[in-house]
Amino acid sequence: VSRRAAANLVLAVIAVAGAIVGAILLSKTTIPGDLKTPKIDVAREFAGTDLGDAAAFERLLRWTFIGSQVTLVVVLALYAKHGARYVRDSAAGPIGTGFLLGMLGLAFVWIAQLPFHVVDYWWAHKHDVVEVGWFDFLFGDWLALSAQFLFVCFALLLAMGFARRLARTWWLPAAAAFVALTLLFAYISPLLASGLRDPKGPQLRAEAAEIARKEGVPSIPLKVEEVHEITDAPNAYAFGLGSTRKVVLWDTIVGFPRPQVRVVIAHEYGHQAHHHIIKSVGWTALVLIPTALLVSLLTRRRGGMARPEAVPVALLVFIVLTIVATPLESAASRRFEREADWSALRTTRDPAAMKGLFQRFTSEALADPDPPGWYHALFDDHPSGAERVAMAKAWAAREGVPVP
């Protein structure tokens, strides 16, 4: 074994060990390790909601999702094989031609996935989950699509720029740059968000401030986003880093019974209190660095990332690895969500409200409380409704509060 190979082996071992330590640190949770969640009789716990309707609604969406992912891979595989021919349609030099090939790859993917999006939209519209009309659906997202085209160009500028400078080791600084950009975006996204307003009514503001104080993040404001013209689905989220952190409720959820709104607010403040956003960036880094390495290795047969002919292959490798990493990222996300639920239970001490909330999600957003295990494990980034009700029951039993 040469010294170079030995050094590479040592570096690889250190990198893998570092990744494992990182994953362990990122997986730390405040949920007690000895917590036993009861088995839930879904039909009984979600009595009064139309379980069949929710299951049917999500069943089609699951299959269109699987279909779109398979199509995505097939289209990109074909593009990886034949896409390099578009080099002759560029007068833009290597990086500019890389932009063209990257954007064309995205264009092919968009065309191939359009039928699935149309079916999803039709299905959601049929079930009154979305409010936008066909015209807005077809033409309302062009700005977002343009932004995706721009993002692809920017990503290729970074990757190809480093590849042209650093030959084989470009993937490391490129991955670092992408992680830094992810951090930057996480920081500035609340500053770029528009349409957020302060909650109406002093009572809600006072309750939110009280919950934030109990969660240990008193300085983070609560905002409301107007979405009722687009969708009826209830939702809330937390975003931002450091001084830009915010918690946002969709206006479709503000009208829920106040105890349930309190649970939602506490859940989102729980995300902020337990630093889930920066931890998500950490998970992204753990996935992105080996992804960049594999892209670097697998594009060498096309001359490496410095050459535009490698871009279609790079797109394929990147997407396949992203799909492969989805179960890991989904598991991490579900872990964060469980911790936020636990945090909300500790803060509100109202497991009945939490149970009511997830029953309501099933009846109003048609969220299937008991999805198939394989799909849940692979792709769901939130615990199922049944799991969340089980956690509420477990908390209640543990704290001696009446079990809902």
Binding site: S90, A92, G96, M103, A107, S146
Partner: protein, 419 residues
């Protein structure tokens, strides 16, 4: 390139336009407006009868065909008069050869009944282009378009100098001529589709200019994928062009100060601004489908099929530099007016290229003309040259020495040595 059976002709003239006649031109044209609109109403009412008769016989009825020929010829005469493309007051319903700008129609010809049957729908793209050309000016029905712009700009130019700018005259003949070809097709006077290639219309040779279009023999092949996603693929260029424009404006201020002080633009600034003009041309050529490949981002000379050659910096009169912002305004206005033609051409080219995988030659050349003028205007505005942009489509096969040309709109200001 095959000559169109509806052939537009324009006599060479000294371009002198007496100021008094120019000043009152629109008022003097009122009797023509009244007669033309009356004839236009009759032409529209008769159109269904001509259509049905031609559908059955394959040949339009002779008497009605003569009426349409007279009507369209008369329309061309009045258009040329209103846009100062010709000097004399036009005759009422003048016959062939009675006016300096004229049209020769083909003999009665048998036409495909399928083509006749769908003529209205087939003519729609051409009608869209006639709107962009402002061909309804003679009927008072043009709210914009090239001819309207020429009518406005030419009025000031002729009043100021007593002469019509040669480029604008040729542009007026092209725009009015295209409208006549389009309506000759619509009214079944010919079965040939109107040709939007400026090279097919009478025009003075393109003058030698420090800013020249190159690569006009570019292949017409278009990648359908690049055509379908043209707008999306242009997104990074939109952003980059905006950023570059900001920097170019800063460089322009520096160039302006330097040119005022020394009488010429320093080489580094000239090179930077020339790259900006080239890049703009490459990007627009791609965006408007005048060329196929995805353009580069730095405006390298010779890097794109449709390119602009820009001469090195030369001394410039300081007065011309001082007032450049004002002097460039008429040309910038014409650029804005030509954008309507560019949009219409790009829209039609998009469909044509998507279905056939090729860009129609005429539309490509119309785009190339607009791009060349655009590049010359920006080069003039950004102090890359003291030569005023030439607005005519020009016969680009035969460049002509500058000394033989009539001076452009304000060339006396920038080149006082010219007559």
């Amino acid at each position: 390139v095959v000559e169109h059976p509806v052939r537009i002709t324009a006599e060479e003239d000294d371009l002198v336009r007496p100021r008094l006649g120019v000043f009152f031109r629109i008022v003097l044209a009122i009797p023509h407006y009244i007669l033309l609109n009356t004839l236009g109403a009759v032409a529209i009412m008769l159109a269904p009868f001509v259509w049905i008769a031609t559908l059955f016989t394959g040949i339009p009825p002779a008497a009605l065909t003569d009426f349409y020929r007279s009507f369209l010829r008369y329309t061309l005469h009045v258009s040329a008069y209103l846009t100062y493309a010709a000097r004399p007051y036009p005759p009422f319903l003048g016959g062939p050869g009675s006016y300096p700008v004229d049209v020769a129609f083909p003999p009665y010809e048998r036409q495909s009944r399928w083509s006749v049957g769908f003529r209205f729908f087939l003519a729609l793209p051409a009608i869209l282009l006639t709107i962009a050309h402002g061909s309804g000016l003679a009927l008072g029905m043009a709210l914009g378009g090239t001819l309207t712009g020429i009518w406005l700009l030419g009025w000031f130019a002729c009043l100021a100098r007593g002469r019509m700018a040669p480029g604008m005259k040729d542009l007026a003949v092209y725009s009015a001529g295209y409208g006549i070809q389009a309506f000759a097709y619509l009214f079944l006077l010919t079965g040939r589709y109107p040709d939007s290639d400026p090279a097919l219309y009478p025009s003075a040779p393109l003058p030698a200019h420090p800013v020249r279009m190159t690569g006009l023999d570019d292949a017409p092949r278009r990648s359908r994928m690049l055509v379908f996603f043209r707008l999306m693929l242009s997104t990074p260029h939109f952003l980059w062009h905006q950023l570059w424009t900001i920097v170019a404006l800063v460089a322009w201020v520096l160039a302006w100060l330097c040119a005022l002080a020394t009488g010429r633009v320093p080489w580094p600034l000239h090179r930077f601004l020339a790259a900006y003009v080239r890049y703009t041309t490459h990007f627009y050529a791609f965006f408007y489908l005048a060329s196929n490949p995805f353009p580069g981002f730095v405006g390298t000379a010779g890097s794109y099929p449709l390119d602009v050659a820009i001469d090195p910096p030369a001394p410039q009169p300081r007065w011309g530099v001082l007032f450049r912002v004002v002097l460039v305004l008429p040309a910038l206005l014409l650029v804005q007016i030509l954008m309507l033609l560019q949009y219409a051409t790009a829209f039609l080219s998009w469909w044509a290229a998507l279905f056939t995988g090729r860009q129609p030659r005429g539309m490509r050349n119309a785009q190339a003309y607009a791009l060349r003028y655009n590049a010359q205007v920006w080069a003039y505005g950004l102090l890359l040259t003291a030569r005023y942009p030439y607005s005519g489509p020009g016969d680009w096969a035969q460049p002509k020495p500058v000394a033989e040309l009539a001076p452009a709109l304000v060339s006396w200001f920038t080149h006082p040595e010219l007559p």
